[in-house]
Symmetry: C2
Subunit: 233 residues, 2 copies
Amino acid sequence: MTQTRKQAIVLTSGGLDSTTVLAMARAENFECHTLSFDYGQRHRHELKAAAAVSRKLGAAGHYEVKVDLAQIGGSALTDNIAVPKNRDQKTMAAGIPVTYVPARNTIFLSYALAWAEVLAAPDIFIGVNAIDYSGYPDCRPEYIAAFEKMANLALKSAVEGNTPVRIHALLLHMTKAEIIQAGTRLHVDYAMTHSCYDPDSRGRACGSCDSCLLRKKGFQDAGIPDPTCYTIA
Amino acid sequence: MTQTRKQAIVLTSGGLDSTTVLAMARAENFECHTLSFDYGQRHRHELKAAAAVSRKLGAAGHYEVKVDLAQIGGSALTDNIAVPKNRDQKTMAAGIPVTYVPARNTIFLSYALAWAEVLAAPDIFIGVNAIDYSGYPDCRPEYIAAFEKMANLALKSAVEGNTPVRIHALLLHMTKAEIIQAGTRLHVDYAMTHSCYDPDSRGRACGSCDSCLLRKKGFQDAGIPDPTCYTIA
């Protein structure tokens, strides 16, 4: 008798965090449908990485959804606003940076809800992190809890049936080093992942945006060699 | 001295409810930015109506966002599933119908959040209604309250500043007749609005889907002549 495997939606950006989450969900024996968003981000190279890691980690399906956030604007990741470079940890921790994209995780998770209902996959995995992160409000535990509560009032499948939505934010309380160590134990090839907000035309990481700096420090703290090719060492 | 007027986002479908809400928000002296969604709905005629009522009711701007819900599927409004006809009120009240679109209001409100933050317009108006409605879970007061709570944890402007998001669902507890009476007092021209889920190629209402039946009954109960041109009387 074959047993039906649990289905999950995994938000996959092609970055270090969400790739680790995908590996974790696979290790928990979930059949994973990965969901990526083309939102006009300047670091579009990450979309290729998302497709590649989905294949490599055995996703059952990979979906790329076009979301017009550039039309809305308001972020250095979609607009012609400079991405901050070489900020120290104190500055990073001091406030919400210009790379914040208004309502991004809310829009992404809302699409995930629709897919979750249609695919009967009420487990949604997202790689948000509230420790070594950029200070975005929609990466905090209280936000994730509030979204889950709202989701269970929104969906027909949750309201009528016995299938509550669960938002799995496995990395919430992990440091970047712990994330890298966990992924390394699961044989994640981090050379395939992309973190940089401001890569060059060949997709090479700048080495100095917040995302690159957090990534570099994570590998250092984990004591694991960083396989990333940075244009600035 | 000119006073800055309060800015609002109004979700505008071109239907009876959201048009009434737009008139109400204007009557409360809000400067209104209307937001419509092209989500592959078969009743695309409503998008023209949304643009027309936005102009007529003096919206400061009208935005149409393309959202790919048809790719996701799962609804008679986007898929090749028959729209139910001639259902009586008891049947309508018995459950969530096939015209339910997974996570639709959550996706729409999420986009509204992004616009609200960029336009500094934290008041969001939505025409959901929990009385004469089609039984959708994301039209209930507990859903709206949970969304508002989540929104105030998601947005930089709400977390950092003094500008909480408010979801105004003015019609929640009104009957369709009361909505029509309120709109009529505000001189809404309901002939411009579109409710039908399954119009003909010229945009004429079918007269027998749930949405048409609720609309017809609303005008009857309100004692106001129905200006709609139905193909079936």
